[in-house]
Symmetry: C2
Subunit: 311 residues, 2 copies
Amino acid sequence: MRYLVTGASGFVGRYLIDAIRRDEPAAEIVAVDRPAAAPPANVTRVAALDLLDLDALAAVIARERPDRLVHLASFSSVGLSWHEPVVSFTNNTNIFLNVLECVRRSSPQTRVLSIGSSEQYGLVAPGDLPLRETTPLHPLSPYAVARVAQEHLGEVYVRGYGLDIVATRSFNHVGPGQSSRFVISALAKQFAELARGRADRIRVGTTSVIRDFLDVRDVVAAYLALLARGARGEVYNICSGRGIRIADAIAIFAGFAGGTPAIETDPALVRPVENEIVVGDHAKLTAAVGWRPTIALEDALRAVYDYWLTA
Amino acid sequence: MRYLVTGASGFVGRYLIDAIRRDEPAAEIVAVDRPAAAPPANVTRVAALDLLDLDALAAVIARERPDRLVHLASFSSVGLSWHEPVVSFTNNTNIFLNVLECVRRSSPQTRVLSIGSSEQYGLVAPGDLPLRETTPLHPLSPYAVARVAQEHLGEVYVRGYGLDIVATRSFNHVGPGQSSRFVISALAKQFAELARGRADRIRVGTTSVIRDFLDVRDVVAAYLALLARGARGEVYNICSGRGIRIADAIAIFAGFAGGTPAIETDPALVRPVENEIVVGDHAKLTAAVGWRPTIALEDALRAVYDYWLTA
């Protein structure tokens, strides 16, 4: 089996490639990433290119004709999308459209996994919880609009051109190596600094909100299960199905660090519009492929905390 | 009042500029179009650029800071979007995003009219007719996806950045000068050829389908009414509210031409997936701005037919 992974050097890419290597030692893995990225060592080949360069991408797809393509490349920050909406949109929607177009032209048998986001749901009404795949989408940021357009393009390429695409709406995920731009990683990093005596307080955004977090190892297990057994043209939530308040994650980290620090609210971390509760329902995914989350939240948080203790 | 019109040289652009000139003789009109386009003579200034060139566009918007911006530029063919999905998407969604970004950066007081399409509704369930702005969108072509993304980006720029954007979902429009890629213009052209003894039959696609056609003069009247009195952040159907079967349009043209010709179905004109009926409801537009269609369909068809008799 030949895999092509875009964004292979990113946080999720490294876990995905490790999981493929573990499950399928003989798999060929082609890592696609920007020239400046440092791809993982355990891949078969590396292709360095900008996914906005359609011709460069077309040459790689035509040469590799992968069995499975996992499109992880994304500018996935909501905050960045507000500062640089054009960069965010092109590096989400346009790069995905380029991937699909190259697959259509020269490798139409490739199964494509299109990674989307719980941000696509946008402003959530209390009656919509937990979020199901049938819940209407009300994208509220440039990033969310870009992800909705990506999912719509996938549908059109399935129905109109017969491509084999499976889509996800992935909820928050956590794990060692994630950028501290994301809340759990940011908290773990600050508590690790605290435990090492390098800080005396932590800075937070809105701690009352409830989110649905998955360990990145469970996320990549879902991706591989969908590649193997997901239904063509369908979209699946990837989530734990359980909400945790940010304040509760803070309490767990305080337990690891052995004490409750001073906590300051940093206005720069508070978003102008924010959902109180975002929790998904993974019943469709579980029914389709048998996937369930396996890693308890406390274990997931511990791994992130331990990572920052030595990072 | 200073207007900036993108796609100023196109079919709708010429009618819009004529209408502005008629209503507001002293208006400044800045025509933006591709270097290869031939802009109308009755504008104040011309800016030749590719809207995908963000820097070139930014310079024009910063210099002109128009009161009103009408974004007519579009690759508006559904058929083209299936052949060239990347070209279609970038020349709809990305050019619009560039327009909004330039307005946000240097002319945030500009009122923007975002032109969308009835194609955004996609596959229509019989219970959804007539289509209202609240009907869910199920875009079914690359073009339709691009237009939905455009509308979503508009919403985000209104809510997130406070821009002043009014959006439309414009249904089929007809008028002299429209490309014969569009069905009514194609039929009129063929009947004109027939009347001039240059053809002995006409070629058609699926004639049983029902569509909602507006004369382009009514369309541009709606655009100017929305610029003057539309509500910021809202989207409005622009349609006649009445369906006509393509076969009935053929019968009207046969009346003009003085006889019923041989009619052949051209498989190239039959679409793989097509709605039986697309009819909109313009109640929201009428309530908001007082607009109603004023030109009877037969008069609209006559104008198109007369155009092709001498074209």
